[in-house]
């Protein structure tokens, strides 16, 4: 259960404070899938980063299955992300120096309870097979298409079997067909792994596939 209550965020800059979020609350249960929409610059990514413990809210609390990541120190917070949260970004953001398989495996390197290399490899291969890349395991990101990269990124986000999967415009850079494929994939995987899924998107088509939708506007949720 992900509970965000009364989240506010403002950025302090040399040119004054920039208020981004104001009293945003959200609850996502196991197996829930949520879409967040809104105009550019309204603070969607910010909210997502806060939910994923990548950015600290100015006020308000976030708990995931009862645990508050912002009460932890840097190392513990990192471990928290590693075990509970998976991220998929708009720009796939794969490590160019690693093969697709290694990119998927990378998060396991800092797992708090190390797993045998063979089983990690097995799981990564399975994930990549699930996303339809069984024959591209050893390829570098530079040798993959945009949609393929995004699928590698999804596999990477799932390798640690997170309870919460956060996607920031996962289909933003993709053509219609690839976007649909990725969306289908996300939906299947979410069900298969019984995860909480939060997707930020501009795309009404993508949003339409989600049972719960929120519209972020004027620093708050308005009903969509």
């Amino acid at each position: 259960m992900l509970i965000a209550s009364h989240i506010a965020k403002r950025y302090d800059t040399a040119r004054g404070g920039v208020p981004v979020l104001d009293d945003v609350s959200l609850q996502v249960g196991r197996g829930d899938a949520v879409a967040i929409m809104g105009p550019s610059g309204c603070g969607k990514s910010t909210l997502l980063y806060i939910l994923g413990a990548l950015e600290r809210p100015s006020s308000g609390t976030v708990t995931l299955d009862g645990k508050d990541p912002f009460s932890l120190d840097d190392a513990a917070q990192a471990a928290f992300r590693n075990t509970h949260v998976g991220f998929v970004f708009q720009d796939h953001l794969l490590l160019p120096q690693l093969s697709a398989l290694d990119n998927v495996i990378a998060p396991t390197l800092v797992a708090s309870t190390p797993e045998p290399a063979a089983s990690v490899r097995q799981r990564a291969t399975t994930l990549l097979t699930q996303v339809g890349l069984a024959d591209r395991l050893e390829h570098r990101p530079g040798e993959l298409s945009g949609g393929e990269r995004q699928r590698v990124a999804i596999a990477r986000a799932l390798i640690r079997q997170p309870a919460l999967l956060l996607c920031d415009e996962p289909t933003g850079n993709l053509d219609r067909a690839s976007a649909d494929a990725v969306a289908d994939l996300l939906a299947d995987l979410q069900k298969a792994h019984n995860m909480m899924l939060v997707v930020v998107t501009h795309s009404a088509a993508l949003a339409a596939r989600f049972p719960r939708r929120y519209e972020l506007s004027d620093r708050r949720f308005v009903d969509a």
Partner: protein
Amino acid sequence: MTFGRLAWAGLSHYRRTHLAVVLGVASAVAVLAGSLLVGSSVRASLSGLVTARLGQADLVVASENPFTESLAERLAEQPELQGRATVAPLFTLEGIATHQSSGRRAGNVSVYGVDERFFVFHGVEAEAPTGSGIWLSPDLATELGAVEQDAVVLRVARPTDIPLDSLHGRKDDTGRAIRLTVRGTLSRTQIGEFSLSPSQGPVRALFMALPRLQRDLGQAGRVNALLVSRGGQPLDADAVVNALDASISADDLGLKTEPVGGSLLVETASGLISDSLATTVSAIATRQGLERTEVLTWLANKLTVGDRTVPYSLVAGLGPAAGGDARLAELLRDTGTGAPPIVLNDWAARDLGVHVGSDLQLEYYRWADEGRLVVEQTTFQVAGVVPIEGLAADRRLSPAYPGITDAESVGEWDPPFPIDLKLVRQIDEDYWDKYRTTAKAFVPLEIAQELWRTRYGGISSMRLRTADCKLGTADCGPQTADLEASVPRALGSVRAGITVVDVRAQNVSASVGATDFGAYFSYFSFFLVVSALLLTALFFRLGIEQRLREIGVLRAAGFSVAAIQRLFLLEGVVVAIAGALVGVVLAIGWAALMMYGLRTWWVGAVGTTALALHVDPVTLVGGAVGGVVAALVCIWLTVRAVRKYSPRELLSGSTSGAFAAARTPGSIRRLMPTVILVTAVGLAAVTTTGAVPAAAGFFGAGALILIGGLMALGSHLRQPRAGVLGGSGVSALAGFGWRNASWRPGRSMTSAGLVAVAAFLLVSVDAFRKDTHAAGDARGGTGGFALIAESVLPFVHDPSTSSGREELGLQFQSNDPVFAGVSVFGARLRPGDDASCLNLYQPKQPRVLGVPDALIDAGRFTFAKSVADTDADRENPWRLLRGELADGVVPAIVDATSLQYVLHAAVGDIVTIDAETARPVRLRIVGSLSDSVLQGEIMIAESAFAQVFPESAGYRVMLVEVAAGARADEVATAIEERLEPYGADAQSALTKLEAYHRVENTYLSTFQTLGGLGLVLGTIGLAAVTARNVLERRRELALLSAAGYRLRDLSVMVVAENLGLVAIGLGVGVVAALVSIAPVLIARGGRPPALSMVWLLAVAAAGVVAALVATRAVRRLPLLASLRSE
């Protein structure tokens, strides 16, 4: 996959950036390890040089007074040496050699009297010299231009039994000229470069037949040195001293005993018994229950009572026992009332017509310490008259004085002092015929010692007899053999003046060097290392900044900051180690280049071409580790900065938004540079009025300009850009380009600041360049002396007086025109190791000058520092030399440069010289001379000199002042010609000073050269910064080119930014430096510092080249492609 593989993947993927880091680390390691390698190479070369020159000699036994040649065998038989240690005797002297046909002269020649034992000792296949044949060292042969069969005249000082500067010393017979025939040269492997003293200079060695040298010196069967070879076993100096103690004989000490008149006479060859010997003999006598009588006999020029005079009489001072003559003893007992008692023999009493109670004037000669014969007179009261019998008839109360005691008649006397033969009457000749050296008068010993004691001793002989034995009826003396056996053992070799020095250890430790070239080259290469490290950090940072989004992803995936830092540090370690490995190879090349430099461009600093590269793995590894650590520190600082960025910024791929945002300078910060610059101008202005000392004032102003200038640049770069870009053409583009410098103000400031500081230092060290523009003054570097003359043989006449010079044969008559307006100061010299920067070895037994009172009072030269605390001493710190210090510590003055760089001590410190000898001397440095010609020696007062170096008789150095306008070279020629028998060499003080300056200036040039190289490298770093800025802003540039900018326009922008920073850095640094050193520049007639200017031009050129390279980077960028999103 593992952490390591993840790091490895990063390494290989970003290998181009990493390669740049590797090169940066490699340069730092190369320079650092290379510099240290220079140090170890110099040390190894110097150590190798002395070791080779020592041959097999490990220890040296030496004595001022020659000892028996057979001591070598006796010593070798001692248990301490038995086994493999070997001993070879030789006679070693300093001499001056003249090539007879060409007249070429070589001073400071080491003369070795050797026989086959010397060559066997060294294990060398060479024929020992025989007859008048000699071998020369290659350097000496070259210097003299001597080949086989050439005649060479050698002058050496003659070791004398009787000290030169005592009354009976033969002052006009100090040396020997020996005509010899060259047999050839001995190569280095034939031990031809044998040398006991550590010096990197040429070896002037002359090997002659030992028997021939002994004969010429009148020292048959005697030598003054033994070489000891350990033969591979441990043998230290103390063990050799013990062995010596057990093997020295009375003959080695010059001790003679002889039964005379029923008691045992104890004498020495010098006619004086040293205090230590006297104490030893007395102790033995007391232990054996013997009664002893010390005797000090002197020559009275006149014994006068009223108008009657007896000329030239021997007067014996007798100890209280008076040789068992109870009557004499009783008469000599000083009642303490009135004049001291004197007892006459009846011949003298009759001749003088005296009776008991008469006053008697005794006139005598004394050799004053300052090198003058003085006539003194003392009044005695006649206490009694004794017949010429018993002790009063004993001719042996007087020691043997050549020229007197062996003369047939008084008329034939030939003493080393003037005698007025007109005073000698027939009855005096009759007395001589009948009684010879029988004393005519007797005085108490303590009175005699008060009048005639010298630093060589206060007893001329001693009598020992059994206490209650009746003289005349029995032989009361102890056994000669017993005493001759027990005295040497009781005295010991050390007190007998025989020293043992572990020359090998001493010379090897001296080769650690006065100058640590490793440290010097590290300092000199400072800017090179800093530039290399800066480049390393820059490139590594570039690598990280390229990968910010990667870091963001890793953080999102749950990597902690620490884990990410570890990852990058791991990459950094691999890169640094790779850099170190490359660097080690380059270091050898760098060191080889520096060694080549020391042999060629900078040979002025070392004065030898015998320095070669020695690759010492330990040094190399040490330098590599140092370079790696420095690089890792830089890398760590960069990696640490990762923490500053939030994942969000990292993911966005740009950190500029939050961190490089121009911090708008506050109004105070904006005003600061102006305030500082105005202060600088004000300070300079005030200084020109003379209110502030020029050197300090201008240096302050220069430093303020440097700080203010850099602050102004910083504030300019951080200023928010108000105006809108406008205009057209190159200037508008350049303005636009210059704006890019404020893209990363920190980066631009670092580069410009480095250039400015380096330029400042490079130009301002020119002020330390020594020149001789005011050296001729009495307060200048030469002390106002035009010439410094040094002789091989000491002379005892005081050259500062006209009469002394005449005695010396230096001046022909009192108004000799050559010496018109010339003043001379004589100084005593204890020869030894050169303490100046010309000597690369640490001086262990440095040259010491005993400076006369007159020179102290003259207050010449300028002091850098002194311990003076009274006004008088501050006015003339030379006076501090007269200070009395506790525990036998002697006040000394040293040239400031030698003190700091060679002796490694400071004013006020106590330094010990001759530490490895039996007689270490402790000196307190009471002052230091600034930039003086007296760099090679340590100065102490003449009075103290006589005490610490009693064996160094006479003067050997002359400081000569010539009247303005007079021809110094004529005086020099006169000195060299007229003092030819003394082997005098007169050198221009200015030339000498210039030789020292050359060394220091060469070091400065080395610093400027390496610093300049560092600056060039820094400029290249600046280009890298520019290229990076271009890279970072490629989208922006792409936009510009999409907007119609041509590549050439972009190049103009890049060049403008780069050159702008170099020019500002150079400008600020140079202006600040020139202001700082303005007083020196003005004093030198406004001559600009040439070498540093050349380097600055090179820097500017490097700036242009680097800018062009950066431009190429712009050209090669796929600008438009970078507009497309990834």
